[in-house]
């Protein structure tokens, strides 16, 4: 039995709705994409807002910290904003011959100018402090740049209603947010001069020579070397000078040592933090071959070149950590790894270097919060 009319009406209505949907999809094939686009844009907007908050937080912390060391004669906000927007242009690579040295020249000038600018803003800061403050401004510059790039893709995607632009940036967002959070933590670490995960290479080198009789001198800009004897072998332990935040010029230091020592150098051992894969334990120590050093590649190139010229084997010891752990305050597992590295270095020296020979041990990384042992 049927209640006349009513059931029919409902069915018709439902059919009509279906028909409408069908028409929308047929007449307007982009409909689903539009829908998706607006969802993605909303998601991006929320994350961009989070990014902006981190950027504002870092910027104001940086200005607050610089103000402590400023003499009050400059408009800090304006000056900092100007530094945040500064840039360096990489050399032309159409003819790559000699590009590493051109790049080195540009990067050196850029770093010196950056440091000079920070020093000018903070005349009350001492040498070590100024270096750490320079690192701090670099952190602010990093997060500022990240924010501007994400904002660019968001706005561009919105303006052109191009789902492929917003999709690309949306796919990267989880990693970018992780980096942004790391920048935020890094800002606090550099504000107070706390050791960061990246400093583990330096820490290991310092622990290797701790309490031993040694000759210490500066071998290159911001780079020192400890010269000592161990089991009849001559050790050159190289690291950036601390406790101010700097990575020094390890390649220049290694080149200078090799040029002085010549054929006597029988091995170079490099210690550095390395990016771990997801699922691997932080603080794991792994051995390998090659120049363990990050950065733009200038130091790596120069070390490889001199090692080849003198036919010196390059041994690498790396400590696993994530990108976030590298720039945030050092974790216990990373600090403990430094002690394991010391033992490993000693065993490499025992097995690979004969008595009477020289060996270079380079601890690579940022020295913030790590003094001379």
């Amino acid at each position: 039995m049927q209640i006349a009319g009513q059931g029919d009406l409902l069915t018709s209505l439902i059919q009509l709705v279906w028909l409408l949907f069908l028409m929308i999809f047929i007449l307007y094939p982009n409909f689903s994409q539009r829908l998706q686009l607006s969802y993605i844009l909303r998601d991006l907007e929320r994350k961009l807002y989070g990014l902006k908050r981190i950027r504002e937080e870092v910027r104001s912390r940086v200005i607050e910290t610089l103000r402590k060391y400023s003499d009050g004669n400059v408009d800090l906000e304006k000056e900092v904003d100007q530094i945040l927007l500064s840039f360096a242009i990489t050399p032309e690579s159409m003819d790559p011959y000699g590009i590493v040295y051109k790049l080195e020249h540009i990067v050196n000038t850029w770093e010196d100018t950056f440091e000079e600018n920070v020093r000018r803003l903070c005349p009350k800061a001492d040498r070590e402090r100024a270096k750490t403050l320079t690192n701090l401004v670099e952190v602010a510059r990093g997060i500022d740049y990240l924010y501007r790039v994400v904002r660019h893709y968001y706005l561009l995607g919105k303006k052109t209603s191009n789902i492929y632009i917003v999709l690309q940036i949306q796919m990267l967002m989880p990693q970018l947010m992780e980096i942004a959070e790391a920048y935020r933590q890094a800002c606090y670490a550099f504000m107070q001069g706390q050791p960061v995960g990246d400093g583990v290479g330096v820490l290991a080198a310092a622990k290797l020579v701790e309490g031993l009789e040694k000759k210490t001198y500066e071998v290159a800009k911001d780079t020192i070397v400890h010269e000592l004897m161990m089991d009849g072998k001559k050790l050159f332990v190289l690291r950036a000078a601390g406790p101010g935040g700097t990575v020094g010029k390890p390649a220049d230091g290694i080149i200078k040592i090799i040029e002085n020592e010549g054929e006597r150098v029988k091995a170079i051992v490099m210690i550095d933090a390395a990016l771990k894969l997801e699922g691997e334990d932080t603080g794991k120590v792994v051995e390998g071959i090659g120049a363990a050093i990050g950065g733009i590649g200038v130091d790596k190139f120069k070390i490889e070149e001199i090692a080849k010229k003198y036919n010196i084997p390059l041994y690498a010891l790396v400590i696993y950590e994530s990108i976030g752990e590298a720039i945030t305050p050092m974790k216990e597992s990373i600090a403990k790894a430094a002690e394991e590295v010391v033992e490993r270095v000693k065993s490499i020296i025992r097995s690979k270097v004969e008595e009477g020979a020289s060996v270079i041990i380079a601890g690579i990384g940022n020295t913030v919060g790590i003094g001379l042992s």
Binding site: R46, K47, Y49, G50, R53, I54, M177, E181, Q185, Y188, A189, Q192, G193, Q194, P195, L203, A206, E210, G242, P243, G279, D281, T328, P329, M330, K331, E332, S333, I334, A335, G369, I370, G371, L372, S373
Partner: protein
């Protein structure tokens, strides 16, 4: 909203000091100006000596259950 609970937290490291007269190691929250291998004038809680050397600055990690999980993967 994005920065929630765990993420907002700032990692605050501990400074580990070794007394120069009795070699006891003790820790306290990090203070600005501390750096590894630096010497500070602080009273040792055990022997009362007043010179200590900083032997480590790091964030103490809680013993994680995660570690056990990792081994199954």
């Amino acid at each position: 909203m994005f920065p929630s609970g765990r993420e907002r937290q700032i990692l605050n490291p501990l400074t580990f000091l070794r007394c120069l007269s009795c070699s006891t190691i003790n820790s306290r929250p990090f203070r600005e100006g501390d750096y590894v291998f630096g010497e500070v004038e602080e009273k040792c809680p055990k022997c009362g000596g007043d010179r200590m050397r900083i032997v480590g600055i790091y964030v103490k990690e809680p013993e994680q259950r995660e570690k056990r999980q990792k081994q199954t993967l």
